[in-house]
């Protein structure tokens, strides 16, 4: 079970390894705040959808399983969306349309199909947590690089109260050289490409070690 959990980070990282859920990863990773918010939302949806789908896996007819999964996921996303709208309005505006697009995030449907429909409830919950954290981890990596290069610092606000700054860090030396391109789509694709190559390299190195 520990391996299930661990796999989500490097070996089978849903974003850098399997190239799933890329739309939200690229769009949301402009700031640390968005990354954490989105990561938590997706992880929650993923855990609950995995648990529910695994619990009903024996009574779900095989032919209509995809619509069933989609309804379960859409319900959970609607709940999360309403909660975020009510308690974290700032996050709601900055995540925008991508919050409701969690429904079509391939990671969630992918895990439902590949794992939760074949495994028990507890194992599915652990798998959901691992994959969700792997996704959050990928978001954090990209967002830190992008926010640092685009604004010269990193700021983290309390998501429940945007006026309260929890954590701020800025590099004065970097300030005159900020690259605003990195807050846009170009920077997103470039940063993602670099991390994807890095992860491929790490994976190929560890598999070479195993071969020896």
């Amino acid at each position: 079970m520990w391996n299930n959990f661990k796999n989500g980070f490097i070996k089978e990282n849903p974003v850098f390894g399997l190239y799933l859920g890329m739309c939200s990863t690229l769009a949301i990773s402009t700031s640390l705040n968005n990354a954490v918010g989105m990561g938590v939302c997706v992880t929650l949806v993923l855990i609950f959808s995995n648990v529910i789908i695994s619990a009903i896996r024996k009574i779900t007819p095989d032919e209509i399983r995809i619509p069933v999964y989609i309804v379960v996921i859409a319900t959970l996303v609607t709940i999360v969306e309403m909660l975020v709208h009510a308690f974290m309005p700032e996050l709601y505006t900055s995540l925008g349309v991508f919050l409701s697009l969690i429904v079509v995030n391939c990671i969630i449907l992918g895990r439902a199909e590949a794992f939760a429909s074949k495994n028990g409830v507890v194992a599915s919950a652990v798998d959901g947590l691992g994959m969700g954290l792997g996704y959050t981890f990928a978001l954090l990596l990209i967002s830190v690089v992008r926010e640092l290069l685009a604004t010269g610092g990193i700021a983290f606000y309390n998501p429940f109260d945007a006026t309260q700054q929890l954590f701020a860090f800025s590099l004065e030396a970097l300030k005159p050289y900020t690259i605003s391109l990195f807050s846009g789509s170009v920077g997103a694709f470039l940063t993602f490409a670099c991390f994807a190559a890095l992860f491929t390299w790490i994976r190929s190195r560890s598999s070479k070690k195993e071969a020896k």
Binding site: Y19, L20, M22, C23, S24, L26, A27, I66, P67, I70, V71, A74, T75, V77, T78, E81, M82, V97, S100, L101, V103, V104, N105, C106, L109, L181, G184, S185, V186, G187, A188, F189, L190, F192, A193, C194, A196, A197, L198, T200, W201, S204
Partner: protein
Amino acid sequence: MTELLSMALAAVIINNVVLSQFLGICPFLGVSKNSKSAIGMGVAVIFVIFGASLITYALYHLVLVPFKIEYMQLISFILVIATFVQFTEMFIKKYSASLYKSLGIYLPLITTNCVVLFVAQDNITQGYDLIETIVNSISVPLGFMLVLYLFSCLRERLDSADTLPSWKGNPVALVVAALMALAFSGFAGIV
């Protein structure tokens, strides 16, 4: 008329779904390995988005609003899209075997293409009327198809390029996508 035209141009080139709004990246990377399948996917996406947008538009204004259950938007829309895709697949399979052969494999993938859900929701949140909805739901996937085709042509050349082993495949393709996004950002401000 000029308004509609500029709206279409903005959706195809300036606010391109893939390169500036980050939607539909999965099929953008997945089915761009050769230009023929890129066109097939593009046509299928245009058809599905057009049909699904019209149905969801009607559903929203004729059912959800009168019954005051707008919060069911997400669930009902995704169900409509999933069923529509399924029906299209069955319909094409029955009536045109050759079309099914060329489009069929892409159709199931479209359910999880976020562009479809995005366009359906965008039509509602932007408050478009019927004509604007039609224009929007044709021009957005047209932009998707354009970029997908261009990207697939670039990728065919990329296959024969000599890249570092860890950059092979998707990483270097993403660098190409970044350069394309840079090129497309030059269109900003046309309209």
